[in-house]
């Protein structure tokens, strides 16, 4: 047997072995990549289920009911809290005439204007 033939056979077998080893390292590398992606996917799924729960619980009738009843303790405004606003070029303006006007009832029972709302120019 010629040495060159022997060496080429050895090289060929070695290459085959290296290829086999390479394939295995590739399998494990891809497994790690897959694992990383799976973890990300799982994380997204977890977040999705938490979001779904939050959405369901916020949209539930119990939650909406609680929120509505939370705002239900509003007061009807008294006379002095009412102001008349007039549209003007600068925006809405307090109607001074209406604000200063006192009704017969308010004069009789002493209901006076106690607060004025001031408009803020945009």
């Amino acid at each position: 047997m010629r040495l060159s033939k022997f060496l080429s056979t050895v090289i060929f077998v070695t290459c085959l072995c290296l290829l086999y080893v390479y394939q295995h390292t590739e399998i494990f590398r891809l497994a790690y990549v897959g694992q990383k992606k799976e973890a990300q996917f799982q994380d997204s799924l977890d977040k999705n289920s938490i979001l779904r729960y939050n959405r369901e619980s916020n949209a539930s009738l119990v939650s909406i009911g609680n929120k509505i009843s939370g705002y239900a303790d509003f007061q009807m405004p008294d006379g002095y809290r009412l102001v008349r606003l007039m549209p003007s070029r600068e925006g809405l303006k307090l109607n001074q005439e209406a604000a200063n006007r006192q009704t017969l009832l308010s004069r009789l029972f002493g209901i006076k204007r106690q607060a004025e709302a001031k408009t803020i120019n945009p």
Partner: protein
């Protein structure tokens, strides 16, 4: 150049290799035939990781497929106590106790055990889990487990029930349908790398878990909310000890809403007393009082012993039966049979019962389903108490027909009133409509079941008219609904004191009815236990019926219109 030129040297090398090869073969032979099993075991332990795959517990939906339960994956913290150095343990205990808000003694007890796996805390909140992960402590690990959450917190809590830490049903539907909801666990053998970490996608063997089936209830979330809202109001306004409401479809026996007070938040069930968890509507017995007169009235009409216009003298409010003097809440003289029921006269009803006799009264009590379980698909149902005619005392004929000396449940009352509403059929109450898999395929369907025919269509129609009168101009006027007709009966039952006498300040106020009277779509029972200061059924319970029935019918009609218009606009 040929190898033969170097023959002696190459032969020596060859011999050397041959000897080496023979040694290897001998070693391999020894390993293969004598140590194979032992070494395979070690290798498997090193390379493979056995993991149990948890199935997803089935979801519980309301009738419109709104989820009432949600599974959320949570981190559970475990420790490999062996892998943690003793000198580090105290620091870890201090840190974990702060983050997880648990007793240091508990952590110390766990971490000083000589175990390679021990749970520290299961199902942590995401915040706690993140905080522990940041500490990066060697010897602590996390496993994902799904935790049951209930987005509607207290809504239908006593129906839905809850599952425990291991996702096993403990109460309500969660326990009754546990075999469908829990699913089957799977398992997998994963490969591990040199650092003993799982190589996720590379599994040797895998048996996938079978996820639990979903359960669809007959409960309508909106009507349930309406019922709970109104029950809450009456419970708080009258400082009651307890309260229950059931809304039923009288034609099918499907329970549309069922609520009790006091109640609890399903998400914090571990801190709640048994008293709040109990489903009073099916577990608690009470003497029903005047609402029970519907049984006596039905028996009298069905047996053709009386008709609506027959007159009874109500003894001006005081009537002796054996040693007992019976009273009406307000004195009456002559009343027609219709008025006896409308005005809820105890004396008039007793006289009707005396005409019928104990045997007939008892037969109708049993026919209406009292004294036996209705086999509803909820845990804890009780059968109630009814005495056979032989056990009746001399005053029983003046007590049982008016709802004393009997123990009934709210569920039995709603089934009885439904039988009148639907034309005389006692329907089996049920709360689960169907069981389906994750793809939406129906696994099991529950259909309405008629238990028996109780009264004729004609008798049912006549009773309906009498009960409509009770709401229009009788004791149940506060149950009148704007825009709809309603039929019903009030009840105010004295509670028994521990010494066996009837209390003068503890009552059960109740109202049973259905609406619309001419073509009922819902039957409702409201019971309020020990309301104060007012205690009459017509004052305390009737307004609850009015509000629940009114809102529910408006909702159901709107829903029907919407569904019809959607069906019309669907592309063909």
């Amino acid at each position: 150049m040929y190898i033969s030129n170097y023959r002696p040297r190459s032969e020596a090398v060859f011999l050397l290799f041959l000897v080496f090869l023979l040694c290897c073969i001998a070693r391999l032979f020894l390993i293969q035939f004598f140590r194979s099993a032992y070494l395979t075991g070690i290798a498997n332990k090193q390379h493979n990781l056995f993991v149990e795959l948890e199935p997803l517990r089935g979801i519980i939906y309301d009738t419109n497929l709104k989820p009432q339960t949600i599974n959320i994956p949570m981190d559970s913290l475990f420790a490999s106590a062996n892998a943690i150095k003793d000198k580090d343990k105290e620091t870890i205990i201090r840190q974990l106790s702060q983050i997880l808000n648990i007793n240091q003694a508990y952590l110390r007890d766990r971490l000083y055990r000589k175990k390679s796996f021990i749970w520290l805390v299961r199902k942590l909140t995401p915040g706690q889990s993140q905080a522990v992960k940041k500490l990066n402590i060697k010897g602590l690990g996390f496993l994902k487990e799904s935790k049951r959450f209930y987005p509607n917190s207290y809504l239908a809590s006593q129906i839905i029930g809850f599952a425990g830490l291991d996702n096993v049903g403990l109460e309500g539907i969660e326990v009754y349908y546990d075999k469908y909801l829990k699913g089957e666990a799977g398992w997998a053998v994963f490969l591990r790398d040199a650092r003993q970490k799982k190589l996720g996608p590379l599994e040797e063997k895998m048996v996938l878990p079978k996820n639990g089936y979903d359960v669809v209830l007959t409960i309508d979330e909106v009507i349930q909310y309406i019922a709970e809202r109104e029950l809450d109001k009456v419970f708080k306004t009258y400082h009651a000890r307890g309260a229950s409401i059931i809304v039923m479809d009288p034609h099918t026996g499907a329970i549309i809403a069922l609520a009790n007070r006091p109640t609890y938040d399903l998400n914090v069930h571990s801190k709640v007393s048994k008293d709040r968890i109990r489903n009073r509507a099916i577990c608690d017995l009470f003497e029903p009082g005047s609402v029970f007169k519907i049984v006596t009235a039905s028996a009298a009409l069905e047996e053709k012993k009386v008709n609506e216009e027959d007159k009874f003298f109500c003894e001006n409010g005081s009537y002796r039966v054996a040693s007992h003097i019976l009273h009406d809440h307000q004195p009456h003289g002559w009343l027609t049979f219709r008025e006896v029921i409308k005005q809820s006269s105890n004396i008039g009803t007793t006289k009707v019962a005396q005409m019928l006799g104990p045997d007939i009264v008892f037969r109708y009590i049993k026919l209406f389903g009292f004294g036996s379980k209705l086999e509803v698909d909820l845990p804890g149902e009780v059968s109630g108490i009814t005495k056979g005619p032989r056990q009746w005392s001399k005053i029983s004929i003046a007590a049982i027909p008016i709802g004393q000396e009997v123990g009934v449940t709210t569920l039995q009352l709603v089934s009885a009133i439904s039988a009148i509403a639907n034309g005389g059929q006692l329907m089996k109450p049920y709360i689960v409509k169907e069981i389906r898999d994750k793809q939406g395929e129906t696994i099991k369907k529950f259909s309405p079941v008629m238990v028996r025919k109780v009264i004729s269509l004609d008798t049912a129609a006549r009773i309906k008219k009498i009960l409509t009168g009770a709401v229009e101009e009788g004791t149940g006027r506060l149950a009148k609904i704007n825009g709809f007709s309603a039929a019903g009966k009030t009840g105010t039952a004295q509670k028994l004191e521990p010494n066996g006498t009837y209390s003068h300040n503890k009552f059960v106020a109740s109202f049973i009815g259905f609406a619309p009277a001419e073509d009922p779509i819902i039957a409702i029972v409201v019971t309020v236990d020990e309301p104060h200061p007012y205690y009459f059924g017509g004052v305390v319970a009737a307004p609850v019926f009015k509000n629940v029935a009114g809102d529910s019918i408006r909702y159901l009609r709107t829903n029907q219109l919407v569904n019809e218009s959607i069906a019309l606009n669907e592309p063909r």
